[in-house]
Amino acid sequence: MSEEKKVNSFLENLKKKAKEQKQYGGETKIVEAKMDVRDCPNCGAGRAQQDGLTHCAYCGFEFLSVKLTDGIYVKKEDNSQ
């Protein structure tokens, strides 16, 4: 086999492998910016900032099971009292 043919077949093989290999972390989706709201699934009440983000202010439903710490956008003050 000539050197050129060898290179091409090596490259084809490499391309095939690169294509077939499963994406680590899954496929990515291209999405547009959007706005959403999550009401309490237990009592239907809305979530207001002053009530905190972790629990429903009305029925105590747990939205988040973690204790929030200071991050870039979420702050520790956002924990429900």
């Binding site: 490259l11 290999q21 291209i30």
Partner: protein, 315 residues
């Protein structure tokens, strides 16, 4: 022929044929490896460039795998050449050297030339070509990140007043470019809405550092130039030192020494400029980085302090 002249010194030693043959074969082998490298890279570069442009995956993972394969192949060529150099050149040199052809032996020059010529051919030609090809392969993903950044800004301008509260319908202004999902408070009813930035905006944090590097590339190049200047001057000084050692004319030797001192002064200046240039680059890069993603300011300032304490500059 004089009484003391020795035939032994004039005649080529027995091992010389072997040395010559190994050197010739090594050079042919390097030519072959360089050709192989060239053919592989010339075929790969258009494929990689095309794949990077057309890969729908935002992280270009298919491209990344193909590139890793090509770079891996180049690395294998390097290892092969290194093994052959070790086995056919350095081992043969050691064998002959240990058999008694030491520095004071009349034929040591032949042996030393053999090792040096092979080493120079390997490092100054093969290695340089390998580095050049590696750079070209890496450049297949080069893109103007400024355009990508401008697209993020344009998109933000277009969407910032587009949203309304899901609870009461009042308009909500998105106050800045958010990089991850975040809670946005409705100013009318106080409901916590969840804002999810687009994929394009989310990617900003991933290319912000590269964009900052692009903006400060000239400062980084100044560091590399100073490093190269130091190396070049060192080389020149080394050559002068050899000349001084073997120069019998004292006047000429003094001239060489003067030249050498001037080079040393210039070299010291290059060495002294390195930490200054390095700090300039690091501060400028982080300032740009913070400008692109101001939300990360606190984290980036800590990281900058770590980089400033590093021994060698971090790209």
């Amino acid at each position: 022929m004089g009484f003391f002249s020795s035939k032994k010194e004039d005649k080529l030693p027995e091992w010389y044929a072997q040395v010559k043959e190994n050197q010739e074969r090594f050079f042919v082998f390097l030519d072959k490896m360089e050709n192989k490298m060239m053919e592989l890279c010339e075929a790969s570069i258009p494929e990689l460039t095309e794949l990077y442009k057309n890969d729908p995956d935002i992280f270009h993972r298919e491209y990344g795998r193909l590139k890793a394969g090509v770079l891996g192949q180049l690395e294998q060529i390097r290892e092969k050449v290194d093994d052959v150099h070790e086995e056919k050149i350095l081992d043969l040199y050691s064998e002959i050297n240990h058999s008694g052809v030491r520095a004071t032996h009349p034929h040591y020059g032949l042996l030393n030339d053999f090792r040096n010529q092979c080493g120079d051919r390997y490092r100054q030609q093969f290695e340089v070509k390998l580095e050049e090809w590696t750079d070209k392969i890496n450049e297949t993903s080069a893109e103007d990140l400024e355009i990508k950044y401008q697209n993020v800004l344009k998109e933000y301008d277009a969407i910032k007043d587009k949203f309304t509260c899901k609870q009461c319908g009042s308009p909500i202004t998105i106050e800045k470019i958010f990089l991850i999902e975040t809670f946005v408070n409705c100013p009318s009813c106080n409901t916590q809405n969840t804002f999810s930035p687009s994929t394009q905006a989310q990617m900003l944090q991933h290319f912000a550092q590269d964009l900052a590097r692009q903006r400060t590339a000239s400062l980084y190049q100044a560091i590399r130039n100073a490093e190269q200047k130091e190396r070049d001057l060192y080389q020149k000084m080394h050559e002068l030192k050899l000349k001084i050692t073997f120069e019998k004319d004292k006047k000429l030797a003094a001239q060489y020494q003067q030249q050498r001192d001037a080079f040393e002064k210039e070299r010291q200046e290059a060495i002294d400029s390195l930490p200054v240039l390095s700090e300039q680059y690091t501060r400028a890069k982080y300032a740009e980085w913070i400008k692109i993603v101001p939300d990360f300011k606190e984290h980036l300032l800590t990281r900058m302090e770590n980089d400033l304490g590093a021994v060698s500059p971090r790209w």
